[in-house]
């Protein structure tokens, strides 16, 4: 049986993560909640790279951390390799930590400055009691070679490395236990463009060598398109569009995706000048009191009354392309008639009958 037949590697079902905001000195009362992730359902297939994009504060990193249970869930379930891990204790999680790893954004903050590279990369091996000291050293040196550093770097400290090299150390540490799933949380955002390309190519090579599945979190759509098989677009804690990578760029359905794409700078002056740029007004609204209905409506140029009242369900437009929008773009009437509401993945609060009736029209 090939691994593909065994269902998704990771499944999130109606995952909710709220952070409480507390007031008071002795007796702390909860006064409000930050709705960081609000009813997200999606699958990560074996061997694929799922891109997770959105602006700062949209909940993409929180979702990534929920996936590997670095954060406890408020509600919902996470099923990894057929096992429900949402309620496991720390001890119960420990054997699974070998299979779920994470690479962090900031290569300066995520490496202990007082530890040598060998200790940093070897720590996961030591914790899980793999091999003796000598074997571990050999394994770490091999790993360093695999991520494009040299075995002589074993005894150096993180400060002796540049940003790109440090990110390689972070990658080596994540791979030390031969995990199945790696969450890459903005792994290249802090790096120069030229170094970004090196790290992205490295991640692609390692995916092949180690048979990895990635969840790649980023806000740069150019990078995400390059690495991903499928992409989920998040806005204020919700998945607003989920699509095969190329399709998302060719015909974005959700106006938010359209705006995100148009904001990516293009290194070609003539095309850049010719392109219509949709500049989104203002910032992402507060996730403490998210807007009613469709959460994107205050910034959407197609918004109408229905958008302020009803939360749109995730609608399946065929070919694995889902979007939550009352006024879909790049959709003809025929596709729209065929489209169905995805009841399993739609948030519980969405109105299941509220399938869009007609393609988008510029309201303002």
């Amino acid at each position: 049986m090939s691994s593909r037949d065994r269902g998704p590697l990771l499944e999130a079902q109606h995952v909710v993560k709220y952070f409480p905001i507390k007031r008071g000195i002795l007796i702390q009362r909860e006064v409000a909640q930050v709705h960081a992730v609000d009813d997200v359902s999606l699958e990560v297939q074996r061997g694929e790279t799922l891109g997770l994009v959105g602006e700062s504060g949209c909940g993409k990193s929180t979702l990534g951390r929920c996936f590997v249970r670095l954060l406890p869930l408020t509600r919902g379930e996470i099923i990894f390799d057929g096992q429900d891990i949402s309620n496991l204790t720390r001890r119960g999680m420990r054997p699974l930590r070998r299979e779920l790893q994470i690479v962090f954004q900031d290569p300066y903050a995520s490496l202990n400055p007082r530890k040598r590279v060998g200790q940093i990369v070897g720590a996961p091996l030591a914790i899980h009691g793999i091999g003796d000291r000598r074997e571990r050293k050999q394994q770490v040196q091999e790993l360093l070679g695999k991520v494009g550093l040299s075995p002589e770097h074993y005894n150096r400290f993180p400060h002796e490395f540049s940003g790109g090299q440090r990110q390689r150390i972070g990658v080596a540490r994540a791979l030390a236990l031969r995990p199945k799933l790696v969450i890459a949380d903005e792994p290249v955002s802090a790096l120069d463009v030229s170094i970004q390309a090196q790290v992205i190519n490295l991640l692609a090579d390692l995916q092949e060598d180690f048979d990895l599945t990635y969840v790649f979190i980023a806000h740069d759509l150019g990078v995400v398109r390059h690495v991903s098989d499928r992409i989920a677009v998040m806005y204020l804690g919700k998945i607003v569009e989920l699509s095969p990578a190329e399709e998302l760029y060719e015909r974005p359905i959700m106006p938010y995706t359209e705006a995100l794409l148009s904001a990516v700078p293009i290194p070609d002056p003539r095309e850049s000048a010719a392109r219509e740029r949709i500049v989104l007004e203002g910032d992402v609204p507060s996730p403490i009191n998210p807007p009613s209905g469709c959460r994107f409506h205050p910034r959407c140029r197609y918004a109408t009354d229905i958008c302020t009242q009803l939360e749109p369900p995730l609608v399946d437009y065929g070919n694995g392309h889902l979007a939550a929008c009352h006024h879909p773009l790049n959709v003809d009437n025929e596709t729209l008639a065929r489209a169905t509401v995805d009841e399993r993945r739609s948030p519980a609060g969405a109105h299941e009958a509220a399938k869009p009736i007609q393609p988008a029209q510029r309201a303002r």
Binding site: E55, S56, S162, G163, G164, Q165, D192, V193, S194, I195, Q196, A197, Q198, I200, N201, A204, H219, D220, L221, G222, V223, R225, H226, A245, E246, Y249, A259, L260, L261, S262, A263, V264, P265, I266, P267, D268, P269, E271, S272, A273, R277, V279, L280, G282, D283
Partner: protein, 342 residues
């Protein structure tokens, strides 16, 4: 013909350290005309920030050594006293930085900070400074400026903070605005807003802008002229069209190739520039880019290439390859897969 605003000639900035002399900027010359937008592009450590910090005379390290001249409106800033330099900063040249959180004072309201700057440079009555500050916040697109003026920096989002920084920079109508990676810490959507704002302000105020970035995509839309810096030197200089459509230096090709582009079919691999920027203490012999350059040949080791015009007026590059060789080879570097199919 626009007036010359800034002329930097043979600027060298080095730092004495325990390990030796770090030549952060190693003999660069360039000019900025009135109302012009100049982009300075290069990797971290290429000297782009140090160059512009030197123009502002903001480097406080006692181990710094300067050589060369920085002439602003006909006056050499190198010889200007500290007090006179304070007048120049703000009124003539203003700067915005990458991280707006660390460049605003967290214990004062943004209004206080803008008013302080106005009072420092102009003789204003109490209410006047506040009115002007509100006006500035309106101009940079901050909603409800009358209320937000009394907020502290932490109450603003990253994009809004950068707008406050721009308001602060514009408060004394400078003729030259230096923006050091103004959008690097921001989301693409907010980056688009800030770039749009800088473009509009340049139209309205007519100030010249020097935009420092590591991303060629950012300057494609906004810059008139582009300087590409590597290891403390300019390796290519030209107008926007020349740099993007006829790039001459292999380093520029590498920068263009490493961008994951949305306007092209998806490439199998990005063309990264191999290796790391060189040590600025022991610069490689010959061309500094040689160790990372796939095109390098014997002459690159023996001889340091000079920045000269080979292909057209105002288009300078420092590379030993002949123009024909460059044009024949560059597509294979910038986009190998497109070159294969063509």
């Amino acid at each position: 013909m626009a007036e010359r605003l800034l002329a930097v000639r043979d600027l060298k900035v080095s730092f004495r350290t325990e390990d030796g002399i770090v030549r952060a900027v190693d003999g660069i010359s360039f000019t900025v005309d009135e109302g012009e937008v100049v982009g300075i592009v290069g990797e971290s450590g290429s000297g782009k920030s140090v160059t512009m910090m030197s123009v502002m005379r903001l480097i406080t390290d006692p181990n710094v050594i300067y050589e060369g001249s920085i002439v602003y409106k006909g006056r050499d800033l190198m010889g200007v006293s500290r007090d006179a330099m304070r007048e120049v900063r703000g009124e003539e040249i203003a700067m915005i930085f990458q991280d707006p959180m660390t460049s605003l004072n967290p214990v004062y309201t943004v209004g206080w900070q803008i008013e302080e700057q106005l009072n420092e440079h102009y003789d204003l009555k109490k209410g006047q400074a506040r009115r002007r500050a509100i006006e500035l916040l309106t101009q940079v697109g901050i909603p409800r400026p009358e209320q937000r003026i009394d907020d502290y920096p932490h109450q603003f989002s990253g994009g809004m903070r950068q707008r406050v920084m721009i308001a602060l920079a514009l408060s004394c109508n400078p003729d030259l605005l230096i923006a050091d990676e103004p959008t690097t810490a921001l989301d693409v959507t907010i980056q688009a807003q800030i770039l749009e704002l800088i473009k509009n302000l340049r139209r309205e105020f007519g100030s010249a802008v020097v935009l420092i970035t590591h991303d060629l995509g950012v300057v494609a839309d906004i810059a008139d002229r582009i300087l590409v810096m590597y290891a403390g030197r300019i390796v290519e200089e030209g107008n926007k069209e020349q740099i993007f459509y006829d790039p001459q230096h292999p380093y520029t090709w590498g920068l263009l190739g490493s961008i994951a582009r949305l306007d092209r079919p998806k490439a199998r691999r990005l063309t990264a520039i191999a290796g790391q920027p060189p040590s600025l203490i022991n610069r490689p012999q010959g061309c500094s880019f040689r160790p990372r350059c796939p095109q390098a040949f014997e002459r690159c080791r023996a001889e340091d290439p000079q920045l000269t015009a080979k292909v057209g007026e105002g288009h300078l590059d420092a590379c030993h390859l002949s123009v024909e060789d460059k044009r024949a080879r560059r597509d294979a570097t910038i986009n190998p897969e497109l070159a294969e199919t063509a």
